[in-house]
């Protein structure tokens, strides 16, 4: 398959993996954070850890939108859809994320009108097809998906579609990285920068990480070779005591980002003063809300939202895992109370969440090597 197979060629992959082994100083331990959940998923799916020396540790970052969404937001969104006149529309990613009374899928099985959509504009089409219902799109995602939500709101306004609203949970990646770097228990040597987000925001917003924090960054694609090449890039920088932003994903990511997408976002959204991130707490100016001129399409203003705050179960250590302080299997609930079928923390829900990825692809492999029997 074009544009995929080229990046999975065994020969080049083996060569790149050998280069990583040459570059990694055996006397040193490397902690490299892949910010994006898509990278986490790819690392497990392609078994890339098998190709790295043991002194390179990959830390899974906060770039999984459903993982960082607090449970209270899910409850709020679902509370609106208890009205039989409301259709709850969301990406497939959201469907198994638990609220306090269950996930959207469980609500659907009990009779709530829950639909999986593949884009915000599909949700708008749903509203047009169901003029006697109200369609609420539960929007999630970083700068990757925010522009399409913005353009959909512009279209709803221009076409005068009034039975449609957006429950906006869009967040921005830079404040999350800053929060992780500010965390006292943080020990990260370099970053693999998000690929899809960077197609929108470009590479410039990461420059402070190199300049002020002295950490190398390589913005990376999602194929095995992309990720390995990005590891080569940051290892070279570390060897040469450099810190700069490199763009491994040039075939997709323009240095300056996508201006049209950024304009659409700026037109529709403004920064919230603060927003709660699951596991990371409140982070100022880290999320988007819908501007006043689109207030009619803002579900939070159109409906009574309880604004519930739900604390995560005490034993769950999602925050520590999210910051890379703990490995997924070091959490007390991992594989016992918390499994992909019965997730307690959101990291166990999304296949991009580090716990689910670790559970699905890795932990029984590890158990096999160490001789521990499966806990599944």
């Amino acid at each position: 398959m074009k544009f995929v197979d080229e990046f999975r060629e065994p020969e080049i992959i083996t060569k790149t993996s050998e280069e990583i082994r040459r570059l990694a100083d055996p006397k040193r331990h490397y902690r490299i954070m892949e910010v994006c959940g898509g990278h986490t998923h790819a690392i497990y799916r392609f078994g890339l850890k098998d190709l790295l020396p043991s002194n390179i540790e990959l830390i899974h970052g906060p770039g999984c939108p459903v993982c960082v969404l607090p449970m209270g937001r899910i409850d709020d969104g679902l509370s609106i859809a208890h009205d039989p006149n409301v259709i709850f529309a969301a990406f497939g990613d959201m469907m198994r994320v638990p609220g306090t009374q269950g996930s959207p899928l469980e609500h659907k099985a009990r009779g709530m009108d829950v639909r999986i959509v593949y884009s915000p504009s599909d949700a708008l089409k749903l509203a047009q097809a169901n003029p006697d219902k109200h369609v609420m799109f539960f929007a999630i995602g970083f700068e990757t998906t925010a522009p399409s939500t913005a353009l959909t709101l512009v279209r709803a306004k221009n076409q005068g579609i009034h039975n449609f609203s957006v429950f906006c949970n869009h967040v921005t990646i830079i404040p999350a990285i800053r929060a992780i770097l500010d965390s006292p228990d943080m020990r990260i040597d370099a970053f693999i920068g998000p690929g899809h987000v960077s197609t929108v925001i470009g590479c410039r917003p990461y420059e402070w990480i190199a300049k002020n924090e002295n950490k190398p960054v390589a913005v990376s694609g999602f194929e095995p070779l992309d990720i390995l090449q990005s590891i080569v890039m940051v290892l070279r920088q570390l060897r040469d005591h450099e810190a700069k932003i490199e763009n491994q994903y040039k075939r997709v990511v323009p240095w300056e980002g996508n201006r049209a997408a950024l304009r659409a976002m700026a037109d529709v959204f403004e920064l919230r003063a603060y927003f709660e991130w699951r596991g990371l707490g409140f982070i100022s100016q880290s999320a988007l809300r819908i501007r006043d001129r689109y207030a009619e399409w803002d579900a939070e203003r159109r409906f009574d939202v309880p604004g519930v705050r739900v604390t995560d179960p005490k034993a769950a250590q999602c925050g520590e895992v999210l910051k890379g302080v703990l490995k997924p299997h070091q959490c007390k609930l991992f594989g016992k109370e918390c499994t992909p079928e019965h997730p307690i923390g959101a990291l166990m829900v999304s296949s991009e969440g580090s716990c689910a990825a670790y559970f699905n692809y890795e932990h029984r492999k590890t158990a096999m090597v160490t001789g521990i029997t499966s806990v599944a």
Binding site: G47, D50, A376
Partner: protein, 360 residues
């Protein structure tokens, strides 16, 4: 999933205190999706209450094989709920025949006769029904199975998605085959009859919710001719077979791994997948190993019969793309491991619920 144990039900045995392990408060969609939740429901509720106590120890197969005073018959049943009713390459009427024929086939039996139940929704246009009955008739003739009877029920408009079909089939076991997951040993080879994921992705695209088009057709067909070719060429070496429908190859092989206590190790590059299926899976964040098939089957073959088996499959019409995709090993016990061409590996679990596309 067909609910069928390997031995018959005896009412005297059922009366002994059954152990119900299914404790979930209500039925969720996942209980019907063919993955872990389905297995919990069948093993935790249906099996203890319905099946003879001795069969609790026996793995659940695709069809039950019964012995009536020396006459052996195989029996199975399956219900078909599909949206849309027709799709490129097939429709519900055809699926309902092939699904049951295939459940019998992979249990090692030739389908002989079938009874069918139609649950129809009031308001269903007659031409739609006629089309499906025709499709069923054609599929039955093609598979050489007699439709011996049936039943029709009509429910109120809005209480069903146009129509549901249940087919119950009986078959004659092929004497050269003995299918039992507990006979599977490390060193056995795993054969796959052809490319995976065509049916599931075709249905996903036919629902029209995605602005995606691909030149894909459901693979629905009877796999019996292939099973028969395998039985003739390598009968004594065939240890286990399964048609990987809902939950895909990953779920079927995980069930096998649990039932036999061995590990299943697959070589990813040997698994045949059409480019259109791979492309759609890449785009939607799905794993082809979790996608449903309606015209393929997996077989575990003793190593000394492996070449003959693959050769026979490849020469049979419709088996041209058959491949050896992996083997049984001692480790990882009870799990399925997939290795890549460049030396990476991953565990592939059963599907949890329906496959959901990842977007963000």
């Amino acid at each position: 999933m067909s609910v069928a144990a390997n031995s018959g039900i005896s009412s005297a045995e059922v009366a002994r205190s059954p152990k119900i392990r299914f404790r979930e408060p209500q039925i969720e969609m996942a209980h019907g999706a063919g993955g872990k939740a389905s297995r919990r429901l069948v093993e935790g509720l249906f099996a203890p209450l319905l099946f003879a106590s001795s069969s609790e120890l026996e793995p659940l197969g695709d069809a039950a094989h019964l012995d009536f005073n020396g006459t052996r018959i195989a029996i199975t049943t399956d219900s078909f709920v599909v949206k849309p009713l027709s799709f490129p390459g097939g429709s519900i009427g055809e699926l309902a025949v092939n699904g049951t024929v295939n459940d019998l086939a992979v249990s090692g039996a030739r389908a002989e006769a079938m009874v069918v139940t139609y649950v129809l929704e009031a308001g269903l246009p007659t031409p739609v029904l006629e089309g499906e009955v025709r499709a069923m008739g054609n599929a039955a003739r093609k598979a050489g199975v007699t439709i011996a009877g049936g039943d029709t029920k009509v429910v109120e408009h809005g209480k069903a998605d146009f129509m549901y079909i249940t087919t119950t089939g009986i078959g004659r076991p092929l004497p050269s085959l003995k299918i039992d997951p507990r006979s599977v040993r490390p060193g056995d080879k795993i054969l796959l009859s052809g490319p995976i994921g065509d049916h599931g992705i075709t249905i996903l695209l036919a629902r029209g919710e995605l602005d995606l088009e691909a030149d894909l057709r459901s693979d629905t067909r009877s796999v019996f001719p292939l099973v028969e070719a395998l039985a003739n060429a390598a009968g004594p070496g065939v240890r286990w077979m399964r048609d990987p429908t809902r939950g895909g190859v990953a779920t079927s092989l995980n069930e096998l791994a649990r039932d036999c206590g061995c590990g299943i190790v697959l070589q990813e590059e040997t698994i045949p997948v059409h480019d259109a299926v791979r492309g759609a899976c890449e785009l939607l964040g799905l794993d082809p190993l979790h996608i449903a098939n309606e015209g393929q089957f997996l077989a575990v073959i003793a190593p000394e019969y492996a070449d003959a088996a693959l050769n026979a499959l490849s020469l049979a019409p419709g088996g041209e793309d058959a491949q050896t995709i992996g083997e049984v090993r001692e480790q990882p016990s009870g799990a399925v491991l997939v290795t890549t061409r460049y030396g990476g590996s991953r565990i592939v679990d059963m599907l949890v619920g329906d496959p959901l596309p990842r977007i963000c």
